[in-house]
């Protein structure tokens, strides 16, 4: 794998994009004009080569005003929101801390799980997001250290596999002290931490 990893940027050229990648880029290319966002969870591992399907892609978005959200909504040609056809109702979901689900029109899967950043950990993901450049495309993912720790927190077999995958792939690049801090702060038990070894 040829990648260039710096603190806030990963360059991964010459990747053949999957259907899921193209779906994500299509959506984030529009969103990027309207709000700061960060992709978290399972898709981060898939983007870098983990071979499993995912029916959704999770993201946090910086809270924006209704006016800004409406402009984004109007720009989303070819997509639909499964929660509501009405932009003001959709916005209420976000204000209430709930997720919206967007997919291509007429489809259900894959979809984007779209939420406003609410808690400190969400904000940390946003403020420390990593730009991933793949040829002429770019998107933003959360810091790898936090993805690993959070996946261990989620704790299903699939999540632990994702965590181990990211850890093994990026172990020469990530900040070990930062990872350790997250593992401690999120109180990952030793019997789960051992899965990184």
């Amino acid at each position: 794998m040829e990648l260039i990893y710096s603190q806030n940027k990963i360059v991964l050229n010459d990747k053949i994009l999957s259907k899921l990648d193209r779906f994500v880029f299509g959506f984030t290319n529009i969103l990027d004009n309207h709000a700061k966002y960060v992709i978290i969870s399972g898709y981060v591992a898939i983007l870098f080569g983990r071979n499993r399907a995912s029916e959704d892609v999770d993201m946090f978005v910086e809270p924006i005003s209704f006016g800004d959200f409406k402009r984004f909504w109007n720009d989303l040609e070819g997509y639909e929101c499964h929660n509501s056809n009405e932009v003001s109702y959709a916005y209420e979901y976000l204000i209430d801390g709930l997720a919206l689900r967007f997919s291509k029109k007429g489809e259900f899967i894959p979809n984007i799980e779209f939420k406003f950043a609410k808690k400190d950990l969400d904000r940390y993901d946003l403020d420390n997001r990593i730009e991933v450049c793949i040829d002429n495309e770019r998107l933003f993912v959360g810091p790898i250290e936090l993805q690993i720790a959070y996946k261990l927190f989620l704790g299903s077999e699939k999540d632990i596999e994702d965590a181990r995958f990211l850890f093994k792939l990026f172990n020469n690049y990530i900040d070990a002290a930062k990872l350790e801090k997250f593992l401690n702060d999120i109180r990952i038990r030793p019997e789960i931490r051992k899965y990184l070894n």
Partner: protein, 47 residues
Amino acid sequence: MKIDLQELEEEKKKNFEERLKFIDSYVEWLKKTPNREWSRQQVEVLG
């Protein structure tokens, strides 16, 4: 039919450990494989 739950649990655990080992092997392969090649294989699997 006799179902030994303990046996099933042990098998489940063993299978999980084997999948984790496979992830390690896969990552080693990924690290030395050009992006064009591993992503081509990913697209064949995932579409």
